[in-house]
Amino acid sequence: MFKKFRGMFSNDLSIDLGTANTLVYVRGQGIVLNEPSVVAIRTTNGQKTVTAVGADAKRMLGRTPSNITAIRPLKDGVIADFQVTEKMLQHFIAKVHENSFFPPSPRVLVCVPCKATQVERRAIRESVVSAGAREVHLIEEPMAAAIGAGLPVEKASGSMVVDIGGGTTEIAIISLNGIVYAESVRVGGDRFDEAIITHVRRNYGSLIGDATAERIKKEIGCAYPSSGELREIDVRGRNLAEGVPRSFTLNSDEILEALQETLSAIVQAVKSALEQSPPELASDIAESGMVLTGGGALLKDLDKLLSEETGLPVIVAEDPLTCVARGGGKAMELMDANDMDSLTIE
């Protein structure tokens, strides 16, 4: 009963618990938190304590002494480390309610990958409850993404959404508030980074970290050969043969080449989704096109690649990074307004 009372002073939250970033949308306030899903843990005499969470912890990734480990508790969109995820969520929920007089007890809607197993969903649900939520709803990520992007999900016409996250790419065809077809491939932004690291090691004999790979991807990464200028970036990495740090220059074409394999996996998944879709919905999608959301959609010319490959119009949603979290928030409002649970899953 007291939890309910406390809940009156907590906000309804929509959490996009992503592999790379966790976003929190507060009803009526918008996105209030966007931090990397990273937790730094210090071990002293066998006792583990959380040192940093989010952006602070991410800066520690790959730069920690032996007693601190910076870890990403989510892998491929699902919880890999239950306890650390719980700590992270606790931290984020408290951070959102910083000005609150009472300890927060919010109603939370969490987005889960559509192909998450029952066990994985239960793990997420329990993590959120342990983090202090009084009520937990789960929603499939592509559904939230579609709502967040502003697709007409409630209409009797097919909408296709491709959500490229850090760990997974979710493809779904939605009609009448339900998912008609969904596919989840464990390819995402992280795979792009890995591909860049592999490319650099193979071609330059140098080792670069995750953070550097991500920077390369963001600055010169692209998915479609551009007719225009060739962009370059200077990076430093440890030379494997000499064992000393070396500086070298990468250009956008070689990064495109490095990303080919991963990109083709996404294209294949999209094509297979189109193949699987019922003809009526396929015709709707052919007419209006598909929408890209998630951080991966920010990869330059990814829409162009998909458009060329499928022959359909491909649209990048506005502010694709926050689509899922915003969509979750909107879904919560819709559920409250219409008193329906059809958007959420067990």
């Binding site: 002073f9 009526g28 992007a149 096109g289 022959g311 119009p313 491909v314 649209i315 990048v316 506005e318």
Partner: protein
């Protein structure tokens, strides 16, 4: 023309143009540019992977024929990059254009409603807090009510509509007995009532007052036996005090009535409210004694001194009852009124009577039951 002026003119033109674009919608920009590039609608549609129908709708700003906002923006962005236009400008123009057409009022009530919803818990909480505060305040105020009244007794105030009565503060009690001291109504049954400038009679009569008054005013509560001793020493009390006593009592009882005049009705009422007896302690520690002063509004003074308990009833010339009570040994009843007075004494042999300072012998009027009825001042 300087370069600055050039820039200014350019920006002016751009602003004007932008306004024009917003009014006309983004479609004409696209069509103009496409025609300038020599592209056909079919070619544009092929490059964008959308139907020719959609391209025409985009160019004619027929946005209702297109699938939805997110798609329109996507098509516009793609079309802009195909034609080499700045997509952000085009999207801005589109946004402004649609905003103009939208009913601006539609958005604001929604926002207001959300805000209200968010405030609801705080409203509920503050409501509860208010109720709790009110209860706490009420609890403490009912406790401190008595204290408040005690405080009032310490600081004499003039009752509105009542004759100003000069009364010394309790501290003055220890001064020589030349001036009238804090008058106090003592009823044996329901002992002490302070009549000092207290506006509401009900308040003045709360029993809770009694003990506190006694403590705070460092006054002794004089009960019958003590009063007798006191009266013997208090004989030198000033007439002025006597004169003011009526007003004091009246103010303690009924401010409204006393405003009309300090007449008999007040005194009569006093009796009925006062219960068994109304004693007034006057004087200080050096001159103890109970002098009951009644002012019924007249020149004549009748004084009855009691050496034993006796019932006494006094009527003035108008045959109105000025006083009626039981007095105890040591009491002195002093009545200012209009003579002649009709006096009834229960124990006449234990009372001495004086009228305007003259002793009156009424032993002849004492009846067999030791009572006496006499008229003085004829």
């Amino acid at each position: 023309m300087t370069s600055e002026e050039n820039d200014k003119t350019l920006s002016d033109v751009t602003e004007q143009e932008q306004q024009e674009h917003i009014e006309r919608g983004p479609g004409h920009l696209l069509r103009k540019k496409r025609e300038a590039l020599g592209l056909s609608v079919q070619e544009a549609a092929d490059a964008l992977h959308i139907t020719m129908h959609y391209v025409r709708s985009l160019e004619s700003d027929a946005h209702d024929k297109l699938p939805g906002d997110v798609f329109i923006k996507g098509y516009l962005r793609a079309y802009a990059s195909l034609l080499g236009l700045d997509s952000t400008v085009l999207i801005n123009v589109y946004n402004e254009y649609t905003n103009q057409r939208e009913d601006a009022d539609m958005a604001s009530p929604g926002r207001r409603r959300r805000r209200r919803n968010r405030n609801t818990p705080w409203i509920v909480f503050s409501g509860i807090a208010f109720v709790v505060m009110a209860i706490v305040l009420w609890y403490f105020s009912s406790d401190s009510d008595a204290a408040t009244r005690t405080g009032a007794s310490g600081t004499p105030r003039a009752t509105p509509g009542t004759e100003q009565v000069s009364v010394a503060e309790p501290a003055n009690q220890e001064e020589p007995a030349s001036s009238p001291q804090v008058p106090m109504l003592v009823t044996p049954g329901q002992p002490v009532v302070v009549a000092l400038g207290v506006k509401e009679p009900e308040q003045a009569q709360l029993p809770a007052t009694v003990a506190e008054v006694a403590e705070e005013g460092s006054m002794e509560l004089t009960y019958p036996s003590e009063q007798q001793e006191a009266i013997s020493q208090a004989s030198g009390t000033l007439p002025m005090a006597l004169a003011s006593s009526g007003a004091l009592m009246a103010s303690g009882l009924s401010a409204a009535e006393s405003a009309e005049g300090l007449g008999t009705p007040d005194a009569v009422e006093l009796e009925s409210i006062g219960g068994e007896s109304v004693a007034q302690q006057v004087g200080d520690d050096n001159e103890p004694g109970n002098i009951i002063r009644i002012d019924a509004g007249g020149e004549d003074v009748v004084q009855i001194r009691f050496s034993a308990e006796s019932m006494v009833q006094v009527q003035d010339a108008n045959e109105e009852q000025v006083y009626r009570d039981v007095r105890v040994a040591g009491d002195v009843l002093r009545i200012n009124g209009t003579g002649p007075f009709n006096i009834l004494l229960g124990e006449a042999s234990h009372a001495t009577l004086s009228y305007n300072g003259e002793e009156i012998d009424f032993s002849a009027s004492i009846r067999i039951d030791n009572s006496a009825r006499l008229t003085v001042g004829l």
